[in-house]
Amino acid sequence: MTLLVTVFAAAITTAIWYKRQPDGSMKLGILSWMFWGASLMWLIDAIFEYAEIGAAYFTPEPADMLNDLFLGLSVVALALIIWIVILLIWDPKGVIKAKLLKKKEK
């Protein structure tokens, strides 16, 4: 479930990044790379788990599924926080700089 949530997040952010190119001012590429990297790593995790428990991998207990979904959503939230922090520090549109300069003028 965590893998699924991350793959969906990766595909959606990549589609949004592609639509906004060549603008790139929202730094969506970073978010997209993060999700793809995590998806690939969880894919390996899933393969190892499948090799260990076999077909039972595809029939998880409802409680485990819910926990994995909760984890997947938390992972997406963490990635979004990292992206927002990078965006605000990088400040490609100069919004933060403009705000700070405005404050200094007063």
Binding site: T2, W33, M34, G37, M41, D45, L71, V75, A79, I82
Partner: protein, 134 residues
Amino acid sequence: MACFLVPMTEAIVTTVAQKVIEKKEKKAGVQTVTSADGFTMEKTPFSKKLGWLNKMLWGGSVLLAFEHVWHGEVVPYFPFLTAASDPADAAEMLHEMGTAGVCMAAIVTVVWIGMLVVSKSLEKRALKALPATK
């Protein structure tokens, strides 16, 4: 248990490599390619392409580290990895790092190499198409 440490280590190495290559590229200046028809295009520097790998490795390993915190395998106090406090668990952890961890780092690197090949062929195709698009 601690499989994320392997791609994280690779991320540290590739980040240092990227910084070194970036410096060398800045010294060498902008690299361009010219088509048979005389059209010139700026090449995407290798350091930028290495940045793709960095972002995938860092992003993936940070999100995976969070999963380990979630499952109580990483803790904010010494020895930070719960498996490290027991020799039997530590051996299992090292085995997992050697198998799953190495595979994780390898798959991200293989995908990145595939992207390098694709981007190279796209650059060539774009260069060929330039006169037609003008």
